[in-house]
C-alpha cells in the first residue's frame, strides 16, 4: 500500500494505492488519525487505485470518520471502482460515508 497526500486549501487529499488489508490497515488508519489530530480534519480519500479493502480497512475508515466528525471536520471518499463499490454495498457502508464519483467533483462540492 502506498499513501500520497496533497492539499487543496483546507482540504487534504489522501490517495491510497494497492490493498487495504490486515497488513496495511493499521498504517492507513494511523495516518488518517494523525492528520485529524494535527488539525487536517477535512479529508478526501481517493480510492481510485485501491485493489480491495478488507474489513480491517473498513474499521480504519470508520474510526477516522468518527474522529473527523468529532473534530467538526469531514471525511469524504471519491473515485471508487466498481469492485470497491461492491464491497461498500455488501457491508452497507455506502450510506455511512459521503462518496463522490471523482476527485474533481468532491473538491468542487466539499
Amino acid at each position: 500500500m502506498e499513501i500520497v497526500e496533497g492539499h487543496a486549501g483546507e482540504i487534504t487529499v489522501v490517495e491510497v494505492k494497492g490493498r487495504i488489508d490486515s497488513t496495511t490497515a493499521k498504517a492507513f488508519g494511523d495516518r488518517l488519525t494523525t492528520l485529524i489530530k494535527t488539525g487536517r480534519s477535512r479529508l478526501v480519500i481517493d480510492l481510485k487505485h485501491i485493489i480491495y479493502i478488507s474489513s480491517a480497512g473498513f474499521r480504519a475508515l470508520l474510526v477516522a470518520g468518527r474522529a473527523a466528525e468529532q473534530a467538526n471536520g469531514t471525511l469524504a471518499l471519491c473515485s471508487l471502482s466498481a469492485e470497491v463499490q461492491r464491497l461498500f454495498d455488501l457491508g452497507s457502508f455506502t450510506d455511512l460515508f459521503v462518496i463522490y464519483a471523482s476527485r474533481e467533483e468532491v473538491l468542487t462540492k466539499l
Binding site: S22, T23, S54, S55, F58, L90
Partner: protein
C-alpha cells in the same frame, strides 16, 4: 497437458503472524497469473484469505507459541479452491453471525464483517475439524471454459 504447464496446485506454510500475510497475497497473485485467472477472482480470493487468516491468527491461539498455518490452492472441477489449515482452538467461522448493518458512523458495529464478505464473495465455503486442526475451504466458480490448461 504440456510439461511446461504450471502446476494446478500450490502450497504455502506461514507462521501465525499478521506480518506473514503478504506472502499469501504474493502466492495468490502468482497462482492467478500462472493460470490466467480473471483479476477479479484473484482479488476476491486474496480478500477472503486475508479475512480468514486474520481471524485465525488474531483469535485462534491461546498461547504465544509459533504455530504453522498451511494454505493450499487448487484448481479443480471449474473451481479455484483455497484450503486453510491451522491448529488453533476449534472455530467454525461460518457460525459467526455478522453484526446488523445498522446505525450511524458513530454507532455502527463491524463484528463478523469479514466472514460476511467471504460468504458473499465465494461460491463455496466449508469447515471441518480434523485431527485437532481447523480446515476451512473456500471456493470460487470459474466461468465456463475454465482456465489455462482446461482446454
Amino acid at each position: 497437458m504440456s510439461s511446461t504447464e504450471p502446476a494446478r496446485a500450490a502450497s504455502l506454510v506461514i507462521g501465525n503472524n499478521i506480518a506473514e500475510l503478504p506472502k499469501v497475497a504474493e502466492l495468490v497473485d502468482r497462482f492467478g497469473m500462472a493460470h490466467r485467472l480473471p483479476q477479479a477472482i484473484t482479488n476476491d480470493l486474496n480478500l477472503c484469505l486475508d479475512e480468514i487468516l486474520n481471524n485465525a491468527i488474531s483469535y485462534g491461539y491461546e498461547d504465544r507459541q509459533l504455530h504453522r498455518i498451511v494454505i493450499n490452492l487448487l484448481i479443480k472441477d471449474n473451481f479455484v479452491i483455497a484450503d486453510i489449515e491451522d491448529d488453533g482452538i476449534p472455530f467454525d467461522p461460518w457460525n459467526d453471525a455478522p453484526a446488523p448493518p445498522r446505525g450511524t458512523l458513530q454507532s455502527r458495529k463491524l463484528g463478523g464483517l469479514g466472514v460476511q464478505f467471504v460468504k458473499t464473495l465465494m461460491d463455496e465455503v466449508s469447515y471441518v475439524r480434523v485431527r485437532e486442526k481447523n480446515v476451512v475451504r473456500i471456493g470460487k466458480r470459474l466461468a465456463d471454459g475454465g482456465v489455462d490448461g482446461d482446454r
